[in-house]
Symmetry: C2
Subunit: 589 residues, 2 copies
């Protein structure tokens, strides 16, 4: 019986193209179930509770006024809900992208100036255009070239940079703008004596409370009982809101801004986001392009990782290219409504999912609540101390410093561990953008290095079977005049000479050998350089009195070898279907 | 019976380290056979006959006075003969390196000025240091990353650039210095009306004679008979010398330099090379470094290719790292004796070999003859027309433009052909140095692209055998509930998601399948990113009611999977030694 294979090489090909592929919200909106509403409402409300303080905090981290973080949390969320393929992804300002905005735009303008704001809007526009274009021309696969090791090293280092960048708010000190992590550390160390102790107290108190909410409170409530289980997530996630309320009341009530010089957020203009027209300026765009590219990639990478992991829990599908379009349009939305670059955030998305978000409606509810906040509630944030916002950021990024992955990789594969460490150090030493490029290049170079020195095994017969295994690992039978070697890599320019040296060395060390079989089961292609090396190898071996044979050549490779006459040159009878057949024919047994 | 494998992974390891490894000339000098002398003398003389005009011509190509080419043909040859591992390699000025000197130094100084000469010496010093260091730290393998396609594209384009750069001498016109090949072409076209017809006549006549000597004369002499076969090579190779003599006599006898304004070489100072101290100047070195790196690589690549091909004809060994040391010290020799960067030349080495060079003595004889020439014979070259030298260069490089390789690669592998073409175009469009970097990067990116989209085959049983082959290529038997797929590539970050998508798509398309076997015979390693993908794949398949199995996992891969607990997670009984065993157990037959 013979069956057809699945759509080889083009997964998903041939499925009907439906309108909902381009407008994914039709999938949930047209079949909206009333029982989904409760989850969507609850999740939308909880995410809004997290997003109000986080949005303001991340905007400050990006060097922007607090309200910009809220502006970026209304239209972008709604647009993603309509065009994205994840139903639980919570889009908006996130720490990593905010840091990239700060370093990228910070090179071109002073934070908290009108020019800076113009640049942030232009950056959102560029990110939007890049991501949308990449999605339209289906470049989503490019994110695959970011290895897990590079992502892990990058995330840990960026979290460290973000955390340290907030120390000045926590300590209430002034630090000049610096490019380098180590300069920042030394500047903080110098300013330590100038610490504002009241500010530090607010900050440390906030951090303690936040950690308590995150790590302890849930377990305590569950153990104690008496609280409805459905309320536990909302309660534990309201830590930041509580911090905002308590610290604001404290500063207002005790007049700390005046008597202790505690830095506060100050006036936030009320009202819906303004309609903004980002600058269409070629020179500006060229300067912002490197940052825009990094934000487009890093933002997409962070977003797709969490979207995929959440979707697989409910057996939903994520389309990487449609995700790029969803995020790109969300960023365009940010650019035209006074925001700054956004993406899908890790922790808020997990909360959204856990709290019961069933459809994109949850995000639309979040956006509505943020809009209500910015219209009516901004005066409440006047006395909000910046140290409280810094503590929210520090706690949020602290969980991103990931030592476990490094340990795991160190045990599993030193090469992965090396690219993780190189990325980590490069981000700290040379900055976020150069660092990630260094990491990607390192991972690729290590991969090339590995494939340039392939594993080659001399094999022998396992018992009386038709199987041949490495003589170093298994008790196997070999023959004095025939050597069979298995090359565990495709042959290409970077490893062809290595193979040639190995084989000539092996033949020189074994004068008895007169027949050499290369087992090609792991050779998936042979490029033109390697083909040339093989051709000269035939002659070189012949000069040494050794005849070359091939076994287990794969179909596509065989086709290619036949096309250029290599099979004719070698001799059709010197290529065997299996190692077993080759050894039976050549060993004379 | 069990045998030991050859020195696995480290060819040559464990051989006795002898003095002659570091001083390769001891190998031939200590056992010099008198019967080798005739060949060495003949080859040394013929190469000298070629090298006198070529050395002067290449020096002019490099923007240097003619005698510099001769200076670079004395001490460097002798040093290479002592330290190099090839016995037939003819070191000295070559066209490609001369062009690199012209473009690299030409950016920093005007040709034929004292500053230019200082820079050329410093460049030889840098190249010498770089190559020697690379050899000492054993970086010779780096040259393997230059694919045959890139070398071919680069060589053809460089030959074209060199040829076109000589047109001005052939036409007797003045062309402003330009960086770009296309600017050069248009400048020549503009100046065409100013062609000096007498100069052009000398040039075209020389080219005709040279082609006749190269292509026809040997065949003619062999067919006619009457000439001792051992004299045919010397005769055919003396074309350039004849050109030099005849054209000089013509210009001198007819007074063409005065009456027809034919450009001549002019006065060449007589006497041995001066002892020169290259500039030790850090700023200068930094400016020359990119050029020095490219010359070090390209020179080494050209040299090792011809050295290897000649050595294999006599079953001699070339040690790449010792070659780097030999060439490096030769360049240091050039730097201290008024020369400029040298390397092993292709055509002169082939002539040296064909004419019977048995040992390095041949090169030492060449050097002696060049020394005699420069002491006594330089006045003879006063009236030598530059057009004659240009014609020698043009004929020498014309054979380097290689369309056959492109055709061959186009048939064999489009990806190789693409990197050849990209390199070719990049060298013409962006210059030699950028072009070769573009080429190398293109070849690596195409390789990564290929490995990121691996060939995946659904396989079935061939007849009643234990072999399983692609269902699309062979008439094979499959089972309805078990799908076996073979992945033809190691799994790493760039292709892990591709595999995941493929498998999930395949399972979705075949609802009957409840058992999926991944055949790992071509998987040579699994990196940490791919491991994570595999782990999530187990869960995703489980959710779809499909159990994952592995077969033919290689020893090293199995060790790694065991180390991190993957084998325990999957279940030891879900990994089979062979596909045959897996299918027998799972198909229930």
């Amino acid at each position: 019986m013979t069956t057809k294979p699945p759509g080889v090489g083009t997964p998903g090909k041939g499925r009907t193209v439906r309108l909902s592929r381009y407008l994914p919200f039709l999938d949930w909106l047209l079949h909206y179930h009333s029982q989904d509403l409760a989850g969507d409402l609850m999740a939308g409300a909880i995410v809004a509770i997290m997003l109000v303080p986080q949005g303001m905090a991340y905007a400050l981290l990006a060097g922007l006024p607090a309200q910009v973080g809220l502006y970026a949390s209304i239209l972008p969320l709604t647009l993603y809900a309509l065009l994205g393929t994840s139903r639980a992804l919570a889009v908006g300002p996130v720490a990593m992208v905010s840091l990239l905005v700060a370093t990228g735009v910070g090179q071109l303008a002073q934070p908290n100036t009108p020019e800076y704001l113009v640049l942030a809007l232009a950056l959102a526009l560029l990110v939007g255009v890049i991501q949308t274009m990449m999605g339209l021309v289906r470049l989503g696969f490019l994110v695959n070239f970011l290895s897990h090791a590079v992502i892990s090293g990058f995330t840990s280092a960026a979290a460290l940079v973000i955390g340290v960048s907030q120390l000045k708010h926590l300590l209430g000190i002034r630090i000049p703008l610096t490019e380098s992590f180590f300069e920042l550390l030394s500047a903080i160390a110098q300013q330590l004596p100038a610490t504002n102790l009241v500010t530090l107290g607010i900050g440390l108190g906030s951090i303690t409370i936040l950690f308590y909410f995150n790590r302890r409170l849930g377990r305590l409530l569950r153990r104690r009982g008496g609280v409805a289980p459905s309320l536990i997530v909302p309660i534990t996630r309201s830590g930041p809101l509580l911090i905002v309320l308590v610290s604001t009341l404290l500063v207002w009530g005790l007049g700390l801004a005046e008597i202790a010089d505690v830095k506060i957020v100050g006036e936030i203009p009320a009202g819906l986001p303004p309609v903004t027209l980002p600058a269409f300026n070629w020179t500006l765009w060229r300067q912002l392009m490197p940052t825009a590219l990094v934000i487009s990639f890093v933002g997409f990478m962070e977003s797709i990782a969490v979207a995929k992991s959440l979707a697989s829990k409910r057996r939903q599908k994520i389309d990487a290219n449609q995700e790029l379009i969803g995020l790109g349009v969300a960023n365009l939305g940010a650019a035209f409504t006074g925001g700054y670059p956004v993406t899908g955030g890790f922790s808020r998305s997990v909360v959204n999912f856990t709290a019961g978000a069933n459809t994109g409606l949850a995000s639309i509810i979040t956006a509505l609540l943020i809009a209500v906040t910015i219209i009516f509630l901004t005066p409440l944030f006047y006395f909000l101390p910046q140290a409280a916002l810094a503590s929210i950021i520090i706690v949020a990024v602290s969980s991103l410093v990931d030592v476990a992955t490094l340990k795991h990789m160190w045990r599993y594969d030193k090469s992965d561990a090396a690219s993780l460490l190189v990325t980590f150090v490069a981000v700290l030493a040379t900055g976020i953008e150069t660092g990630i490029v260094v990491g990607i290049v390192t991972a690729l170079v290590l991969y090339l290095w590995r494939t340039s020195r392939p594993h080659i095994a001399v094999v022998g017969r396992v018992g009386d079977s038709e199987h041949f295994r490495n003589v170093l690992r298994h008790q196997v039978t070999t023959y004095p005049h025939v050597m069979a070697i298995r090359v565990d890599e495709s042959l290409y320019f970077a490893n062809a000479k290595y193979l040639e040296d190995y084989i000539l060395g092996a033949v020189a060390d074994h004068p008895d050998v007169s027949r050499l079989v290369i087992i090609c089961s792991a050779i998936n292609f042979i490029d033109a350089s390697a083909l040339e090396t093989l051709e000269s190898l035939i002659d070189e071996l012949k000069d040494s009195g050794v005849t070359l044979y091939l076994a287990e050549v794969k179909g596509p490779v065989m086709d290619q070898l036949r096309k250029v006459g290599f099979v004719r040159k070698l001799g059709e009878d010197r290529i065997f279907l299996s190692t077993h057949q080759a050894m039976r024919a050549l060993s004379g047994q």
